[in-house]
Amino acid sequence: MSHQSEFEVFVRGHRGEMVATAAALTAGDRHLAEDLTQSALVRLYLAWGRARGPHAPAYARRVLVNCFLDHRRRAWVSRERSMHSVPDAPAVELADDPELFAALRELPPRMRAAVVLRHVEDRSVEDVADALGCSVGTVKSQTARGLAKLRAQLKDAALQGGNHD
């Protein structure tokens, strides 16, 4: 099978999963989730010689997380994203928990990624460490602190009239 055919098969089989992960990483931003997935797939193709094979999904997850972290670090180069209202939403499905998405948005990017991969995606601590390029201990501390922050955020929201917890 050619390089391109293999990649095409991978996109068919794993793009949906990448978009779902990106939607959680971006705390429900459909447009950014789609942008990040597209960028990650381009990077993946450019590295396909190394990424191909049984470890391709894990490699793609690492690339996607890096795209998310890079995006958060990037300067604004243009006003592409400044608009009064969101244009037509891409077909990215989202869970209906705006309060929790809002709380996730308050977490620093790496902490958010750790919480999402561990508790939304149900990945093992080792897999999360691999995706974030850090130690297992760091993942444990980041997720513990992340959950504590989320609980505090949700408690505040509940005190202000929310109806969860």
């Binding site: 095409e8 950014l32 995006h71 300067a75 180069v77 006003r79 928990d97 929790l100 919480v115 949700l154």
Partner: protein, 212 residues
């Protein structure tokens, strides 16, 4: 499992299979990027591994939604030399964001409810391009106040200054809004000058935070 963990698990939505047009568009984008990388590699010939690394970085950046080109970054190394003075601004103000100071030779190029572009006089580039400019905007509605970077004081409160790609970003709260001032590195403002500029910024009720 706690209630919070149950709610987090419920955020995971089932992955849906992409349509054929989406798959083909992904493959086309990827092939275009690979072709661009090949072309640049050929053009740079035997410039060595260092050049190949830079090219790879350029290709990756060019496929990101808002990334500057490698040339932008290379030509705009951070400057702390204070090559330029801040002067009092006496011209007409724009709705949304008003300024007390501008870098010498810079003008208010234009504004929208979402941002104010301060650019060298005669700059005819699009208001949508922030390269080489000083830009004032409100933090996006979807983002939180990023309290990372060097702590500074702006409008009597804590602000945070950091370098991102080819620009420095100062983020602070004026008590009502989270304001972002972005200065392209080639302008030559020092950190203190950037803070001084921000202290002269007034956000009016016409300013709006963007979405996304």
């Amino acid at each position: 499992m706690t209630d919070l963990e149950t709610r987090l698990r419920a955020l995971r939505v089932p992955a849906s299979a992409p349509g054929e047009d989406v798959v083909l568009a992904d493959v086309r984008r990827a092939r275009t990027a690979a072709g661009r990388r090949r072309a640049v590699r050929l053009a740079t010939g035997g410039a060595g591994l260092l050049a190949v690394g830079a090219v790879a970085t350029t290709v990756v950046l060019s496929n990101q939604p808002q990334g500057p080109t490698q040339a932008d970054i290379a030509s705009t190394a951070p400057s702390q030399s204070g090559r330029i003075d801040l002067v009092d601004y006496t011209g007409a103000q724009r709705e949304g964001f008003q300024v007390a100071k501008v870098p010498d030779g810079y003008v208010l190029q234009g504004a929208t409810p979402f941002s104010l572009d301060v650019a060298p006089a005669g700059d005819t580039s699009s208001l949508d391009s922030f390269v080489g400019k000083l830009v004032v905007m409100l933090q996006s509605q979807d983002a939180s106040f990023d309290k990372t970077g060097k702590a500074v004081t702006v409008h009597g409160s804590a602000g945070y200054l950091r370098t991102q790609d080819a620009a420095r970003i100062l983020e602070y709260s004026d008590g009502t809004h989270v304001v972002v001032v972005q200065a392209w590195n080639n302008i030559g403002l020092t950190d203190d000058q950037l803070v001084e500029f921000a202290n002269g910024v007034t956000v009016t009720s016409a300013a709006q935070a963007s979405v996304g």
